[in-house]
Amino acid sequence: MADIAFYLLALLTVLSSVGVVVYRNAVKAALCLLVGFVGVGALFALLGAYFLAAVQVLVYAGAVAVIFAFVVMLFDVKGGTPRLHRSGIAVAAGTGAAALLLAGVISLAKHGPCADGAATTAVGANLKAYGIQLFTTYLLPVEVTGFLLLVAMLGVTVLSRKQAETPGSGSPREGGNA
């Protein structure tokens, strides 16, 4: 049962990822990205990490993919012209990606661990463990991450400010180098 769910979700995720790459229309690519994120979230749930599945769906599917869709629609993508590189570059890129994948699979097959899922408990399901770890071992990273979010918020505010509308200021691009 879980195996069938894994294969279905893997198929869904891979197909939607391929859709991100091959769809010429950027809106469709963003929607495929959304499906892929939800698929990965479902895989997290299948791995027993229910909290991360919820976070994945909330943050990635709910925020990131929707922001992508907003920005794509903001840009007035013209027509959906085929915007692929020249075929030589595409072949080289495909060869590189295939070599990357093959190297990963071969190294895993040769040296990979043979962990058995039944032998270990799904620690990711334990929500209490997250809290304990976050407030003891990972306390400093939590604070640094919080500060990073603050910096990102300020940076986005500065970057997306309307420029060249303040009369009298010398350079119109003053906010661009934050």
Binding site: A2, D3, F44, L47, V59, L102, A109, G112, P113, C114
Partner: protein
């Protein structure tokens, strides 16, 4: 893609070392590698800056999938927490990156990579 992976697995020694019946760690890691390779291909092939950025996010998500799978099959908590931080940083990164792309679009009125070649000239 699937028969290729199966042939690689059948030829490998790992299948002989540990005959797993169900879905194991290898399946998740291979899926993660597949997603990473697709994202890598997209980054190299596409010319729209936004789609390139989407493919970058895809690569990031693929790596988090591998981390969660390793965490699950090793019985440790660290991978899950690491993924939590990665998701947080990725959200901040997407916000800043998209703001940069919007600022770029305001200045150049294009998001196509072949038009953004000022540093090449």
């Amino acid at each position: 893609m699937n028969p290729l992976l199966h042939s690689v697995f059948a030829a490998s020694s790992c299948a002989a070392r540990c005959p797993l019946a169900g879905v194991g760690l290898q399946h998740y890691v291979v899926l993660s590698a597949v997603l990473f390779a697709i994202g890598f291909l997209g980054v190299l092939v596409r010319r729209n800056t936004l789609v390139v950025y989407m493919c970058l996010e895809l690569m990031l998500v693929a790596s988090t999938l591998a981390a969660v799978a390793f965490s699950r099959f090793n019985g440790t908590m660290d991978g899950n927490l690491f993924v939590l931080f990665v998701i947080t940083v990725a959200a901040a990164e997407v916000a800043v990156g998209l703001a940069l792309i919007v600022a770029l679009y305001r200045q150049r009125h294009t998001v196509q990579l072949e038009d953004l070649d000022t540093l090449k000239r």
